[in-house]
């Protein structure tokens, strides 16, 4: 199971957290403003590897945190 280190509460199980989505990152090659908006709202990198995302400690301190996680293994990575 995934364990997440919360800056306030320390290492806690994933069931206490709510997934808040990956940080939206619109590719540079998309230049049209409408296209960029569309991408920002809907599209996902959905990488098979290391991703940066937001989590909400719903059953803890109720603060948001930013996390780097490897989606291939479903484990938190340092940094």
């Amino acid at each position: 199971m995934l364990w997440i280190t919360c800056p306030t509460c320390g290492e806690r199980p994933v069931s206490e957290f709510r997934f808040g989505g990956e940080l939206p990152r619109v590719p540079e090659r998309i230049t049209d403003r409408g296209e960029r908006n569309l991408d920002w709202v809907w599209m996902q990198d959905n990488v098979d590897g290391v991703t940066t995302e937001r989590w909400f400690h719903a059953a803890g301190c109720r603060r948001w945190l930013t996390l780097r996680r490897n989606t291939t293994t479903d484990r938190v990575v340092a940094g």
């Binding site: 994933v14 599209m43 996902q44 959905n46 098979d48 989606t71 293994t73 479903d74």
Partner: protein, 402 residues
Amino acid sequence: MNEFVETLLDLTWHEPKKSYDVVIIGGGGHGLATAWNLATRHGMTNVAVLEANYIGSGNTGRNTTIIRANYGIAESVRFYQRSLELYRALEDETGCSIMHSTKGLLWLAHTESGMRAERARALMNQACGAETVMITPSEAQELCPQLDLSGGGRYPVLGASYHAGGATARHDRVVWAYAQGAMQLGVHVIPHMPVTGLLRDGSRVVGVQTAGGPISAGTVLSAVGGRVTTVAAMADLRLPIRTHPLQALVTNAYAQGFGPIVASSELLCYVSQTGRGQMLMGAEFDSQPSYSMASSYEFLQTVSTKVTHILPFLRNLRILRQWAGICDISPDYSPIMGFTGIDGLLITTGWGTWGFKAIPAGGEAMAELIATSKVPPLIAAFGLERFAADHAMADQGSAGTR
């Protein structure tokens, strides 16, 4: 697919040619059903289905095999009702037994708001041609004597919607039926052939790069499960898909018959009995996206707690096996089918936790799209362009239980 199974089927394996009219990436249910429909309905047999592993090794072989049409929005109900009807006819059409069994599906409600949701579902279903009616707790008990109407004291059954058309089928056999039917008509199904890139001519997609060399194609269809984002990225196509694991489990055999499929929106779980008598159950997908197929003990805890509230007899069974699949979840819990905005590349994705039941209708519609270059009305609402047009098809009847 093992040697024993292959002896039961009439399969002709081919070496890949240099060029096809249509190349389908992904040898799961949707890819093979599309190939089968192209061959049988449209006379197109210069088709290849490329599968990275063995056929049916992805989500088609990992789901809980439930077929139903009791969705929440009109477009979905019509689409899945078509699929349900095609499943009924599939054994006759392909001449293969898929162990199809119409069982009826009970969708339990435990609160007043749950009852409202089920009433809305039943009305929407009736309006769109799916058989769903509201029933009382005692009628539910008659259909499923094992049900604890008090819900363990915490989840009392106030009523249920009953979807008489709810069915199950053996998922591997569905794959084999389509593969065999397509191969007999000359379609090349090529397992263990991962696609590593897409061939481009300007912006147009003109073929695929595979582990065995390039293959050119008039049309490329991605019928890939969980890893669809990777395939789309080969054409610089961005998708609104998140890949979440979904887990399931079976118990040892339950000696008595368990007639219907039982589900609960509020408990977020579903239970049915397999042909071998095992009790098969699942719950919602994991909250965080991941490509890991690791099973978790937490899933066993969660799902056991949920299902034993309504079906206490499950306490006496033992968990035999658990597994996971990775699902391509769309933001509105509806599939994404059709054109991609890139010439030569079509897509059928976003099948999340509702892909198995959609195989026949999805294959039929995608084959029609490839053969005629026109989007069939049945899937017109499910195009990728709906996100730009702000026409998301949010469906609360999707996601298994959500």
